[in-house]
Symmetry: C2
Subunit: 241 residues, 2 copies
């Protein structure tokens, strides 16, 4: 197998969100991630191996500093329809809602955490970073192929959860200490933006405000927890109860 100049150019273009969206395709790299793509419900459109196309060509199509032995062009799943979203919520899941999470590494790590804690659906506001961003994909460690990430209006998603009689949780500095609250087995757990936390619009829709307490002795820290760390602790507490 060889690879044409046009093919190289096309694959490279998929490092940009606008082209990923235009073609509904994304790129995964690394033997493990490529293998997980092949074993998943996702369709692999094309598979490139360094043994077939050569090191130079792999370096040209790769987003990695050190190109890996395999690269796959993968079809994005069909967008989830409003009816499907309603069906999902009617099944009373425990789901994550992400409000403007901007860092690709954080988003990918959150999927990896969701994978560990068996949280299968992640609703992302439209101003979250793209999960098909190469850095985000890499950080999922393959969880992308097992989770459902749905980009939609997060306010409407909150309304749907409430309409189904479910709780909408969020972490806030003025929330109730998380382990003193009775947490339900279902509902939406909203996590906020790295710098600004949960937006005012979404805050108004939250039915239960939670807080992960700090144990600094003298209150000397003004720091918050990173959003991925806060997600992990929150998911842990939901599953622990």
């Amino acid at each position: 197998m060889t690879i044409s100049k046009n093919e190289i150019k096309f694959i490279k273009s998929l490092s940009q969100k606008k082209f990923r969206e235009q073609y509904s395709l994304f790129v995964v790299e690394g033997e493990k991630l490529v293998q997980e793509a092949l074993n998943s419900r996702f369709n692999v459109r094309n598979l490139y191996k360094i043994d077939d196309i050569g090191e130079d060509n792999m370096a040209k199509i790769s987003n990695l500093a050190t190109p890996s032995p395999a690269l796959a062009v993968v079809e994005m799943p069909e967008p989830t329809s409003i009816e499907e979203i309603s069906e999902i919520i009617d099944q009373h899941p425990l789901a994550l809602g992400l409000d403007a999470v901007r860092d690709p590494g954080n988003l990918g790590t959150i999927l990896r955490i969701a994978d560990w804690f068996g949280v299968d659906v992640i609703f992302a506001s439209k101003d979250c970073v793209d999960i098909y961003n190469p850095k985000a994909l890499q950080a999922t460690m393959g969880a992308i192929f097992r989770k459902r990430v749905i980009y939609s209006d997060l306010g409407e998603i909150c309304d749907k959860f409430r309409g189904a009689g479910l709780q909408v949780y969020g972490t806030f500095l003025d929330g109730q200490i998380i382990h003193n609250q009775t947490l339900t087995k279902d509902g939406l757990i909203v996590m906020g933006n790295e710098a600004n936390g949960i937006s005012k619009e979404i805050e108004r829709k939250v039915t239960s405000k939670l807080f992960i307490p700090s144990y600094t002795k003298d209150g000397s820290t003004s720091e918050s927890l990173n959003v991925a760390i806060a997600t992990a602790i929150t998911c842990y507490e939901f599953r622990r109860q």
Copy 2:
């Protein structure tokens, strides 16, 4: 104030561990981090502001893609003596022990987590990444100035904790579910290397093996949690009980 060529060369050299160790100096950047250095018990040897030395010179001495308005050269604290280590352990702290944590971002994030959960002493094995590495420092978000990081033989540290009648905890895939265990208010919590976990040598010294359970429904995930995430959940559970 100006800055000489030799000074620029000297500051740049501090991005390398061997020169940091030779001069017992390290560099912090960013207004917030520099301010925290100035307010801390650490001695700031030199302070460089972009207003004084100019953008071009700041770009020359900076490790950041976008140089910040301020950079400080800070003196490392004196190494902690064996007697001081014994005194610390005699006070029955809850401490972290890091076994070959190699990623600077992970190490920095672990300090940030320790800060949140009021864990003041971190024992790092000598093959852990250097906490004064620029990326590690940046990831601490200032926690470096409030925590005590002690590089030493981690096996000996485990022995000292045990000798003081304290537990040595570690997370393992064959450990006991962490929230079903009675955790003490003091002791050493060992976290392992990113790829290999806790080494055999240290495992033999662990008195209580813990496990953070996964809730994946079909056991489809082979992934572990990132070491910083596992540290956060473990510290959370210790403080929660």
